[in-house]
Structures are given as C-alpha cells and as structure tokens.
Symmetry: none
Subunit: 252 residues, 2 copies
DNA sequence: GAGTGGTCTAGACCACGGA
DNA sequence: CCGTGGTCTAGACCACTCC
C-alpha cells in the first residue's frame, strides 16, 4: 500500500499524509471507535515510512484526541465526543461534520421585531429599534444538539431575513459579511424553559449548557445569541498552555 | 552546559528536560518576550542533544504558544497573550476576595487512595497506583460557591497531604510547586450527585456548572479535578478577540 | 519472550530568508 | 551564499504488557 499523493504530490509532509490516511480510515468506517488499529511496525511496512514518521503521526493524533495509545498493548480509535474548543468560536455545523456525522438545521423562526429595552441595551440600540430574530435548531442527524436563539443588528446584515439557513448557519452567513473583532461569552448551567426543552426533545429534569454570546464588528454589536445545549449531548472543552509569566497559570 | 537532571535523574524524557530548560530561561527572565533564542544547532551543541530531540522540544513549545518559529530567521519568545481570559479558569479565592467578600474554605477530605482504572487512565497512571485525593468547599462567607474534587499525582506533590488548605487553595499550593505546561478544560451542565448537592446546600432540581480540569507539568498529568458550581451562584464569562489565523473565528 | 509504544541518535536533504 | 527551521530515515535501546 502507498499513501495518496494525489496530484499535489508531496506538497504536504509525509507525517501529515499518514495522519490523513488514518483519519480517512476512521471517517470511512474501516477502523471503528474502540477498535485496535495497526501497530507502528505494521504501518511502517504498509505505508513504507520510517518509525519516527509513523510515530509522529500517531502521537499527534493521540494528542488531538483521535487515537489512544497504550504501551505494550496497541493503538485504538477514540470514542467520538462532541466537544468544542473553548479557544475558538465554535461552529456547530463544522463540529458535527468533523465527527463524520450529518449536520441538519431547522429554522423555527426568522422575522423582524422591535427591541424591548433589555434587548436594546444588550445590542447597543434604542428601545423600539428594528432587529432581526432567528431561532434555528442544529442537529446531528435527527438529534438536536443546539438551539440557537439569535438577534441581529440590521445595520450589519440588512438581507438577513432572505438568507437560507438550512445549509449555511447564521454564524457562517455573518462571518462572510463582516469578520468579528471581539466576542463575549458567558457560560452557565440552566434548566431550559419549557418551549426550549420541547424543541430540543429533552427529558424532564435535564439541564442545559447555555452559552450567551455577543459579537462586535466594525465597532458595534453585530449579534447577540443564546445557545442552548442538552447537557447529555454537548460539552465545551479546550486544551491550552497557561500564560508563561502570569501569576495565574500554575497547575492550579 | 548540561540539562538539569536534579535528583530524579532521567525519569523524564530528554525532550521534556529540554522544554523545561527553555521554559525556565523564559520564566527566570533570561530570555524575554520577543527575544530570539538560540537556534536549533546552537541548542544541540549547548545541551548535547540530537537535532530531532531539540526540534521536538522547540516544536511542542511553539505548538503550546510559548515560542514562535520562523524558517530562515529563528525562534522567538512569544509575547504574552491577552486573549486567554475565558480560558484561565479563575482562582476562586481571588475571585471572591476581589468582590470584597470573605473567602473561606472547608476541607472535607484529604487522603491517600488507590486509583481505579478510570482514574488511572485520566491521570496517566497504572490502576492501583497511589494518588492523593482532596475535597474542598470554597465559600463566599457562608455560601458555598464551589466544590473542588481533586486528584493529585504524588510524583509532583509528595507532601500534598500535609498542606494546609484553609487559607491557600490546592491550586495555589500546586502552582508554587511546578509550573503547568498545559491544561485541559471541559465545561458541562450536570445535575449534582446527592452528596455534592448537600455539601453545596443546593435545592432539589438545581443544576451545576461543572468544570473538569487536567493539568500537565513536566510532561505528565499533575492533577485532575472536578469543580461543581451551583448554577444560581456561578457562571463563566470572558471577552476576547477571535483567534487570528484560524479558519474558524468569525461572528458566528 | 514477543510485541507494543516511547525515545534517541547521526546524518541527510529541503525550502526559505537575509546579506 | 550561509544559517534557519522542517522533515525524513535507519537503526538502536528501553519499559511495558500479555502470554
């Protein structure tokens, strides 16, 4: 066997092609979660690479959470977990597709409204000002993962109401219009309001992980949204290095 | 020059000792942010290691954000970032005191235990290995804000059991022992187990915001902890600039 | 003991950037 | 041109697990 060089040939480093090969075997279902994959020495002969190259590919995939390695035993495909990176602004559609699952969206609401005083304050508008309001259910196959309740500043997305959110998420739509300069996140655990629980098909008594977010573009508030996730189906995660000399950033 | 083997000698891999050496040069101010550090070849002769070993140490420090490498130019110490606000889970004691309230702690448990298989996997130990276990309730006055359920790798904090956690938190204690190189956070919403709810004086049916954290020092897992917060009394928040070069990171 | 991952070396070639 | 980082190899030794 040899690695797919396609046409671009060795544009990518060899260890990256090894990683791609392994990820492809996983996403195409050849190697399933929990299963033991070929050992280093097997990959070395199968792919005709050196031990250091194979090892680097496997090590990096283990670090990124795709594989799990156990000395003296073998290398295994990790059980998939829906988990996003706290460092990045999460894109729920990408996350689901990255798991090799089918992303689907259902638009529950897409309308123009008038801002009440509380909303106006959040978005930096005056009470009674025109705002766009969307509610979209993001699902992994048939399983709802996120209810996105979003208000938009019309100044930054005048044609928002005529967008098609069945394939492109509101976040992706806005990303193309204006890159965000800044974002604010608040994360909390809440019992969902009844209508939210119903739309997310949640059993009685299950809490939600709620991310409230505001983004700024061109110096003004572009969008304020509230993302409800069933606690059993979603969690936030991040891995990062502490700041070097900071008074924080110890083991803590 | 040679690397600090201290007493534990080559218990740690060589590339980890190279990393520690570099981090120490930075934290002690020998190499300052923005400054160019010795090149690979210089480090190779100075520390008497092979190119691959030096390269791995430098590559991993670049990946973790401590260094920045530019081909044909050199390797530089990174300027401290501001964007990690959300990512530093705040020190609960500092946070309470910053509000002008009275911080208090109650140690519920401080003991040596044997790791079961799940815990051993999380900490990178073998099942049955010795671990330290602490449970501390952090309170704002009389109001419990956080239950900290923490397991420690004894290799990195041999005297953990004789520490006094009534004034100094376990996190602060560990921070002084060994600087963490990396941390992982997972945030989720959970209904608290009965004993946790009781210790936090939570009413029936209130969810918890749960932060699970692992930290790495010297290349091994230093500590794994689970922080339970009553949803009505705590939430995570932060404001930051999206990551520049990421393919993600828009308004979203 | 055989197989596994984990590390390490000595040397090699390459693409790039600056003088 | 030379120094930089980036990759790659062939082979080596080790600690570990499972039989």
């Amino acid at each position: 066997m040899s690695l797919d060089n396609s046409m671009d040939a060795s544009a990518h480093p060899l260890y990256e092609r090894v990683k791609s090969h392994i990820l492809h075997q996983i996403s195409s279902g050849v190697w399933t979660p929990g299963e033991k994959i070929p050992s280093e020495s097997e990959l070395i002969t199968q792919l005709n690479v050196s031990k250091m190259t194979a090892n680097r590919a496997l090590r990096e995939l283990a670090h990124s959470g795709h594989l799990r390695r156990v000395v003296g035993v073998g290398t295994f495909v990790t059980e998939p977990k829906i988990e996003s990176d706290l460092l990045e602004i999460p894109n729920i559609a990408e996350e689901i597709r990255a798991r090799g699952h089918v992303y689907s969206a259902r638009v529950e609401l897409l309308a123009e409204e008038r801002a009440n005083s509380r909303l106006a304050e959040n978005l930096g508008l005056t009470p009674g000002a025109k705002v766009f309001h969307s509610i979209v259910i993001h699902a992994d196959g048939d399983i709802p993962i996120q209810l996105e309740d979003r208000y938009i500043n019309p100044a930054l997305a005048p044609n928002y109401l005529s967008a098609d959110f069945s394939q492109k998420t509101p976040g992706e739509y806005l990303t193309e219009l204006a890159p965000a300069q800044e974002a604010e996140h608040i994360v909390e655990a809440l019992m969902p309001p009844k209508p939210v629980a119903k739309l997310l098909a949640m059993p009685e008594g299950e809490p939600c992980l709620v991310v409230s977010r505001r983004t700024w573009a061109k110096g003004i508030v572009a969008s304020g949204s509230r993302l409800y996730h069933p606690s059993s189906k979603y969690r936030l995660g991040g891995r990062f290095a502490p700041i070097a000399q900071s008074s924080h950033g110890g083991i803590s």
